[in-house]
Amino acid sequence: MTIIVNNLTVTNTLSLTLRNEIKSGVSITPSSVSPVLKQNVTIQLETDFPYTLNRDDFTVNATSETNSTYIRYMNVIDVDDANKRLVCKFGGAYSGMFSIRIRHAKFGLIKSTLLLDVSANTTSIDKNRGSIYGGTLITITG
């Protein structure tokens, strides 16, 4: 390890070893959530995750793909150790794609390529024409 403080090299004999084992988040359900509603999302870990799941051991957050400083933290509200699943509460965010970052207190960072789509979709508008003087009742479904 090389440590330099204020342009002075700090002499040391530190040696650190790595653990080659990597564990990942496999899936997230649902993968698309509303920007304005609080919703539960379930994250599936690899089934051979080496630690017993305890919700206090996990830190989960969602980071905007377009703005890395915009981070929404998700509380882990339940775990299913038998199936290695986490249930998190997503509290809403600006629309966009968010990458999921998972951290375990003992294992450390869990590899994740999971994406959460935060968006609102309109599926239909009824009616789609009306008087120029207003007064038309429109139902937007989404």
């Binding site: 090389t2 440590i3 330099i4 204020n6 700090v10 040391n12 040696s15 650190l16 990597i22 590899k111």
Partner: protein, 333 residues
């Protein structure tokens, strides 16, 4: 015996009303009671007058008619009732030169809340009931107690400029500029007094010793001594013109440093030949040092001595000596 008796006129009447002659024993006494409120005009003054009001544009208006001896407590109402633009903007006072009980009359008209310079007001005889008396004269003048400008607008702060040949100290309070008292906020840069010729630092005791010339001889004249990002407390009895000793208030930060001595007239410079002193860091352990996550994200605590206590003020770089290493970012110190 002959007595000359000159009768004086009451200020608001014809004359004395009577002369008493009474007998006392075998002598006769003539007693003349002179009025206290007198006028010199042999012909009793009578009639009314008005005040000729002139505004800043020269427009003339006249007050209501007032009796020649009208008291000023009623006088202001007659002006305000008739003169243009003066309602509730004047007060009238008895002037000392001719107070109410003395010969003649004088009044002050005090303007208030008028943002312009009115013309000269005058006393004129009423046209319906003219003043009558001997040698009636009028005199008027404007009193400006604070100079020739009776009224002026406030000068906007942006227009207050001075031409200075020395730097100015600019003060703001809550982002608002502060006006300088008497517009004198100049600051003189002076040549520093004294010099630090050399210094030593004992890492065992954290004691810093400065040697120099013309340094402050009183501890109260020394504001601060700093070294290796630590303040230094003076050792009692060591402050002299030739040097001082002090003890660092915290562990020094590793790096290359020279002392900084700030006295009553500012920083006392180090001599050109004063070299920087290296303060070394020492590393004792890293925790954890095994089973580190290969994809990163683990927090590693590196322990040792003389590490920086402020991550902002210091330049810190930590790297691993393997081919696939990534940067290690200091989080807290």
């Amino acid at each position: 015996m002959e007595y000359n008796v000159t009768l004086q006129k009451l200020i608001n009447g014809q004359s004395v009303q009577s002369i008493f002659v009474s007998k006392v024993d075998t002598k006769a006494t003539i007693k003349v009671e002179l009025p206290t409120e007198v006028q010199v005009s042999s012909k009793p003054i009578s009639g009314k007058f008005r005040v000729k009001c002139v505004d800043a544009s020269g427009q003339i208006s006249y007050s209501e008619a007032a009796k020649y001896n009208e008291h000023n407590i009623w006088f202001d109402t007659k002006i305000m009732n008739n003169c243009t633009g003066l309602y509730d903007r004047i007060e009238t006072w008895d002037a000392h030169t001719h107070a109410y009980k003395e010969n003649g009359r004088a009044n002050y008209i005090y303007f208030k809340g008028i943002n312009e310079d009115p013309g000269q007001f005058e006393i004129v005889s009423d046209w319906d009931t003219p003043l009558e008396g001997d040698n009636i004269t009028f005199f008027q003048e404007t009193t400006r107690p604070y100079g020739t400008n009776l009224f002026y607008d406030p000068v906007p702060f942006e227009m207050l400029k001075t031409y200075d040949t020395i730097p100015q100290i600019v003060v703001t309070v809550n982002d608002l500029p502060v006006v300088c008292h008497n517009l004198t906020c100049g600051f003189n840069y002076t040549e520093p007094v004294g010099e630090i010729a050399s210094f030593t630092f004992d890492t065992a005791t954290n004691k810093l010793t400065l040697v120099g010339t013309a340094m402050p001889s009183n501890a109260s004249d020394i504001y601060m001594v700093e070294f290796a990002q630590s303040t230094c407390t003076l050792v009692s009895g060591t402050v002299a013109e030739t040097g001082l000793e002090c003890t660092l208030d915290r562990e020094p930060t590793c790096g290359s440093w020279v002392p900084k001595l700030t006295a009553v007239l500012g920083v006392i410079p180090n001599a050109v030949g004063v070299a920087k002193l290296d303060v070394e860091c020492a590393v004792t352990s890293a925790e954890p040092d095994f089973d580190l996550n290969i994809i990163g994200g683990d927090n590693i605590t590196i322990s040792g001595e003389h590490f920086p206590w402020d991550l902002v003020k210091n330049n810190i770089s930590v790297t691993f000596n393997d081919a696939d290493s990534t940067t290690c970012t200091p989080q807290v110190s």
